[in-house]
């Protein structure tokens, strides 16, 4: 019988790290090729299409940037939570909560406030919405030891149902021909876009600023230091006198708040009204988890990894249309990439040895 044994790697060089990531992507593409083959599609053609559809054309690239916006905001926030080992799986709900709050502000004051007041107000409301939703699992965890994976995950469903309830009930618009959804927000509540694209540049700028500020917070401030210590060794954090309750609250305000801002971007930049939750955020909150991991929890790298995954989303849409593949194809591609990147990371940190146990000295 053979046995696998795992050891920590003594040192990890940057070169090895880079090569591992490249290797993982190549291996993933290989498996993805098999999937395409099974679907009866030429894999080289399909993978080529994905990249052509996302980065290879001007139209595709604009779409990629558009989809990267919520991923950057949400992913950046998640790097902070994950760094402190607070497993926030609830970004999807936090995005929705942001959109919900924004809708409320937009519907309430849309016709009275001018744009330059209304839009900032919506962003603030969105931030607060996401932050408040993020606070709930933080409090539950620290005060009642309730596992945050469960609570954040469950809150996603609660938010989604809340929105569904609002759009078929009290907030249902009279211009929707009986379909669920609010009325369109007023002109003043809409974000302007780069002409010829859907890139709502205001949110994009906010996202980039958020990334820069987060980097400074993590690596330069006392709070960021405390987050890093807790994440490395929470016992040491306790010994160092770090206030876990306060720190966790701040982490979740930031993480949830940024997701909430992403929700405003989707609402006021793309959809212009609150519709079904799955259309407001088609899983950005979950994709952002991958984005944050791929960025090795470094906010700056989120810019790259968000763009990469946005590209896959857009490219996936492209092949879905041009090759007639089912809609789940993108998710499969996405999932395979994630699995391989995580595996790669494991092999980067560990050395796995295969050994045989039927040696003579053991049978004496």
């Amino acid at each position: 019988m053979f046995k696998l044994t795992v050891y920590d790697r003594e040192t990890i060089t940057p070169l090895r790290s880079l090569m591992t990531n490249i290797g993982s992507v190549v291996a993933a593409l290989f498996v993805i090729s098999i999937v395409f083959l099974l679907c009866g599609v030429n894999p080289v053609y399909a993978i080529g299409k994905i990249f052509a559809g996302s980065f290879g054309s001007m139209y595709g690239f604009k779409e990629t940037v558009t989809k990267a916006i919520p991923l950057i905001l949400t992913g950046a926030g998640l790097t902070l939570a994950f760094r402190a080992k607070f497993w926030n799986i609830g970004a999807e709900g936090q995005i929705l909560m942001g959109a919900l709050m924004g809708t409320w502000v937009g519907l309430t004051w849309g016709s009275v406030l001018p744009s330059f007041l209304l839009i900032p107000l919506m962003f603030v409301a969105g931030f607060l919405g996401g932050a408040l939703l993020g606070l709930i699992p933080a409090i539950l965890k620290i005060k009642f030891s309730i596992n945050e994976v469960i609570s954040t995950l469950m809150l996603n469903y609660i938010c989604a149902e809340l929105i569904t309830m609002l759009i078929v009930g009290p907030w249902k618009g009279n211009t929707r021909f009986g379909f669920p959804g609010t009325n369109n927000l007023s002109e003043a509540a809409l974000l302007s876009v780069i002409p010829g694209s859907r890139i709502h540049y205001g949110t994009l700028m906010l996202a980039i600023v958020a990334v820069v500020i987060l980097s400074i917070i993590v690596y330069r401030t006392r709070f960021g230091y405390e987050v890093r210590v807790i994440g490395e060794n929470s016992e040491a954090g306790k010994y160092a006198g770090i206030d876990f309750f306060r720190t966790t609250l701040v982490i979740m305000v930031i993480s949830g708040g940024l997701a909430g801002i992403a929700g405003i971007g989707e609402l006021a930049g793309i959809h212009h009204y609150l519709g079904y939750p799955a259309s407001i955020s088609s899983g950005y909150g979950f994709t952002a988890i991958i984005v944050a991991w791929l960025a090795k929890l470094n906010p700056m790298y989120v810019l790259v990894s968000a763009l990469f995954f946005a590209g896959i989303l857009v490219g996936g849409d492209a092949i879905q249309i041009s090759l007639g593949l089912p809609g789940a194809t993108v998710q499969i591609v996405n999932g395979i990439l994630l699995v391989f990147l995580i595996m790669g990371d494991y092999f980067l940190k560990h050395r796995v040895v295969v050994g045989f146990s039927n040696r003579e000295h053991l049978t004496k």
């Binding site: 003594e10 330069r220 053991l362």
Partner: protein, 505 residues
Amino acid sequence: MRKIETLEMVNISKSFQGKFANQGINLKINSGEILGLLGENGAGKTTLMNILYGLYQPDSGEIKINGKNVRITSPIDSIQQGIGMVHQHFMLIQNHSVIENIALGYYKTPFFFPKIRIHEKVVEFSRKFSFAIEPYKKVWQLSAGEQQRVEIIKALLNGADLLILDEPTSVLTPQEIKELFRILNDMKNEGHMIILISHKLDEIMDICDRVTVLQKGKIAGHADTAGMDKKSLARMMIGRDVLFNVNREPLPKGEQVLKVSNLHVLGDKGISAVKDVSFDVFANEIFGIAGVAGNGQKELAEAITGIRPVRSGTVFAGLKNITNMSPRKIYDHGVSHVPEERIKFGIAPGLFLYDNAILKQHHLKKFSRKMFLEYGRIKNHTRDLVDSYNVAAHSIEVQIRNLSGGNIQKLILGREISEKPSLLVASHPTYGLDVGATEYLREQLLKRRREGGAVLLFSEDLDEIFELCDRIAVMFQGEFTGILDSSDSEKLSDIGLMMAGSVRY
């Protein structure tokens, strides 16, 4: 028939990030021998043994068993060659029983009914070496010495002829050390060979046949212990003479720094660990707490420093009631803490050296302005610490986990002492330090005393206690069996009985 009659390491070199940890090392050991491996903190002892055990790959050099070259690329190889290693930090799963842990580390564990079959083996081995071990106890219920025995059985069961022990005694009580040495001697007489790493020269003299001394990654010499004494060993290690005795001049008693009254504290298992303890510590004083580990010392230290809640009773730092304050507030009231399990609690392993140099101090004005950390000052501070405490590190921008065990300790000690706390609570401060560092540390503690500070010193090492302390309390089952003046030699001669709870003053 032994698988290993002789083992040689020939010209072994290993470097990390371009710096040598081992350079051209030659070492030989024969069956029936105990070899002591000595050297300053960071000399490369653990690295060398990790190479032999297959955890690290050498850059160059060979390992020969019975004169033949062998390739050891992983612990699986080394176990098959008959090499076993007991690491300083035990690698046992706390919530599993002894048997389960042994089964996990055993190569021939049968698929069906593993426990029953392994049980026989364990009983056989424990009888052979008269180990006291309870196979069905959970690991967390075991003392450090018992856990170590489990590690040794694990190695023996896999057929280890060569047993490597990395600083095995630092976590043991004196009785447990005696027991360990008896087992090692039995093994030696059976024809096993043993490599022992230790900083305690008495132990080395006591049990080793030969020593090999490393200095800054190179061999400084080999010697038979028969022709050596402690002094000459120390000289071989650090290239100068070491003072084994420090001078503690009498000082007038200062003002009260700590007052503990009727303290009750619970242990991890919810059982009362500290029972009605009262004492006070004054400036210009080192107050020692002696006793066998596990008698409530850890809980007492943690309760004073705010890590563990106080059940009842009060703790005053000066005039300030610090009972159940947060660790940070207590720190700000001048109470610093060197915890017992420092590698576990005292560092954030993946952060840089300079990040770790301010773990408890990062909120202080001098290291942070408003919300920002002042990395310039922090790095300067770290450089000062590294220089004065002689921390061997490639640079201050390495992850602290890459430092050798002793050097991590030095950084923590330096960090806690350098802020000149009015009270330093120090648990076993010299564990894992080489002789030179031990000497330096003791000087620093005495310096704090001279400068008007106070030290609350927890130690199992009676020599250390006698040498450093003005007053000594003895702790047994959560209670003080007496507080003695260090000049009271008559009562002090009963300290062993007090530690066992049979005499009280």
